[in-house]
Symmetry: C2
């Protein structure tokens, strides 16, 4: 390796250092809030020199962007693994989709809110590139090609289904008496199956 970075002594590979800085930042953001956390606190938490931070990130906002990317990648990885491991049947894949999304989300509500809820909801362009929606659109398109359902506009239907799930989870989280995880999954799965005109199993 050449370049500025390796002039400094390093005992750990860059990827691990970067991840550790992100872990430290995430834990502080969740505990104290994003605004109240300083770069100084992040490097103290990660036990590295301040200069090390600036090898990887320009600002605190940069770290938040990286945390968001990591969150989305982790979410997509869970979906890909669950779909690869699970049912080959198309309607079964829809069930796995819903279950995995709801579980992954409910397992990480605080992190989800941290990485997304600094964003203005009007940021419509961001959603256009939403990787979870893109994956769902692909799944819908493949299912349509296989004759599992008919869909006139996979992208739009994927958006509607994604936002329906998002809304249901959000609403349950805000409710005085939230639905159980199992109830939520059952409700959304039924909704998806109907919206795709899949026979109710």
């Amino acid at each position: 390796m050449t370049g500025a970075a390796d002039k400094r002594p390093r005992t750990k590979p860059a990827e691990i250092r970067r991840d550790e800085l992100m872990d430290a930042a995430e834990s502080l953001f969740l505990r104290k809030g994003f605004a109240a956390t300083s770069v100084g606190e992040i490097v103290a938490e990660a036990d590295v020199a301040k200069g090390t931070f600036y090898l990887y990130f320009k600002t605190k906002d940069d770290v938040l962007d990286a945390l968001r990317t990591r969150f989305i990648e982790g979410f997509c990885e869970k979906l890909d693994l669950a779909l690869a491991a699970g049912d080959r049947d198309w309607s079964g894949r829809i069930d796995i989709w819903v279950r995995t999304c709801v579980n992954a989300w409910l397992d990480s509500v605080a992190r989800h809110d941290l990485v997304f809820h600094q964003h203005a909801p009007a940021d419509r362009a961001m959603k256009a590139d939403n990787l979870v929606i893109l994956r769902l659109a692909t799944l819908l398109e493949q299912g349509a090609q296989a004759g599992a359902w008919t869909i006139d506009h996979p992208r739009m239907v994927a958006v509607m289904l994604f936002d329906a799930l998002h809304g249901a989870v959000d609403d349950s989280l805000a409710a005085k008496t939230p639905l159980s995880r199992a109830q939520l999954i059952a409700l959304i799965t039924r909704f998806y199956r109907r919206a795709l005109a899949i026979d109710q199993g």
Copy 2:
């Protein structure tokens, strides 16, 4: 009338004055942005003394809250009128619902974004009181009682349908080549009919 407000000379009823102040503020917010608009500019635009502003509002944020309430009330009024004037048939009501929502929204995107998009999306509690969702839940419940469809959880299904519509409109607005209004309405209507397992007309 008694009280502090009517000690000042007034040539217009309070409701009209208040609406005029709101109109002036809205026009400025849309033109210059909320942050860049001052109370001084609002009273100049409405052609009233600064003291008059403070008879009705404490702050600029107060005006935005009032604009949001007025926006929601206007939206609900359009829905109520369209439903009252239209088809008595349950699946027809769903069509009217979708058409009215999409039209009302596309006719007022800038105002919608102004009154809502200052809000953090994490404000889950706000959605719990969303009057449009409450109306849709009532419509779904009534239709279920009339045997038009079966629904296990009208509130949740209303949330999912509302967010599906919201997401589709948002996505189309963000798209490089947005769907036409008619395409959007047709797509969402089909989605709603499927999600409610209504026979496709």
